[in-house]
Symmetry: C2
Amino acid sequence: MATLKDIAKKTGVTATTVSRVINNRGYVSDKTRKKVYAAMKEMNYQPNELARALSKQYTNTIGVIVPHIDHPFFTKLISNLEAAAAARKYKIILCNSNEQPEKEAEYLDICVSNRVAGIVLCSKYVNAEKFGALNIPIVNFEREDDAAAITIQCDNYQGGRIAAEHLIACGCKNLLHFGGVIGKEMPADRRANGFTDVCNTAGIKSRVVQCDELINASMNYHSYIEQGIKENLQVDGIFASSDLIAAEIIQVCTAMDIQIPERLKLVGFDDVLISTITTPTITTIHQPMKEMSEMSIDYIHKSLMGELVPNNIILPVKLMKRNST
Amino acid sequence: MATLKDIAKKTGVTATTVSRVINNRGYVSDKTRKKVYAAMKEMNYQPNELARALSKQYTNTIGVIVPHIDHPFFTKLISNLEAAAAARKYKIILCNSNEQPEKEAEYLDICVSNRVAGIVLCSKYVNAEKFGALNIPIVNFEREDDAAAITIQCDNYQGGRIAAEHLIACGCKNLLHFGGVIGKEMPADRRANGFTDVCNTAGIKSRVVQCDELINASMNYHSYIEQGIKENLQVDGIFASSDLIAAEIIQVCTAMDIQIPERLKLVGFDDVLISTITTPTITTIHQPMKEMSEMSIDYIHKSLMGELVPNNIILPVKLMKRNST
């Protein structure tokens, strides 16, 4: 691989001059600049980002740690984070913790050893405080507040309210919410609170059913959905805490011969690809993932530059009306 | 951040001794080793992978360039590549080219500048030959052969044959294949060849319809599917070249009041998450993505170690019977 010195030798200028051209710093005549560029092209010169990173002590990479790459929510998030990072000349190092605390901790160490510019943490177990002393900006995505990190969430409570209000406006009298994991507190639990508050105020019957950890990790919710519906046979409106659960509710209802939206109306959460490819398509609560991703990268960048950034950000959600209601 | 020298100062040994402990090289007494470990823990020492990478001239990262992170096929691939890489202590740098040739070329340059250990290239435009001289192992994933890279594909031709054989065994007499992009040659086109060959031999009527580039990039195939079915109203069996297209075929057929599998049988391709969450679930051709991903990482690793690796690998596919047939 051609080095800076090779270019200098070929063009007959000093290595310092070549470096000036590459880094666009200091005075270089147009003639020399053109000569250096031509040699760089001819010799297929590739700048060594490693050497640059070593001098500034961090790379232009951002570590993204998620619990499941293939969960539709995280897929969409990764795609948005990659786009936001690329626009700021950062690259994404992708880490899948598979919901394993020890793998999450290991990935955090790997990110630090590789001198990432920042970390977006969507996995649930490790406390970012451990990393506070390292001065690496950390964004918490849909995790609980953490003094050592910037926490970015969508307005989960408002999302639950909007879902319940929409189902009630559609004429539903008996509502059910599938959401949350037994014994595990998550920001997403606030969807149930918003949902329940609206139902209580409106005098509409409602129930919340949670699943266990194993079902959540497997992404196969069939038995959980079936049991929830069988125990609430009068249900005429369901709010699911993800579009993935909503898609599986369509499967279970079809098998039980319950027509959607005729006999039962359904609202999902996230607004990911699957909500548009199921039959019927899923009415859902849109999370502003593009904006949340852009803010994540932006605040990591600002934090590195020493600018003041917020600790806690909550973004609004909205209803996307489709064919399941 | 604590450095090797800080640890040496704290423990009263030389930096060389600390380096020996960290790299597990040369003789160090048990007592000293324990003392160094204790100081590393207390001072939260994180090894500097950048410095190590600079000395060996490449990092333990693998660049993965895909055309669409959110296409279900690439989502599953990324997830599998991340797992295979983690098992070999590599990290994934994820790049989304959005099917833009200039972005693909830019990402390749970025990967080279950042001294990746290897590249998995799933995007279609750049010829890997440009990078042959750089001695960075490149794996071509579902792209055409390329002398400068290791090409890994599934047996697309066999997949097309299996799909046609299954539809014929289900009693279909009039088959249609949705697959391929007009004016663009891809390995996936061989699915149509296998499909057509089986139909011709069996004397079964068949037709292949391709979509244009814009539809393919948008991932919304509705108008293309609708037109294909309207021009072939006698069709009783469809083979779609992805599970995503198959999911949208279910939507279009439901709107046209064509029951699946009663009036029309459907086979997809890929075996990704959506084939299990649609209603009905989709019978599909399973691509061995786990094995293909493991081989990609394995061959990059072997290639770096100077071992001989194959140019071209084709892996078998198989039928996954679900409810759409």
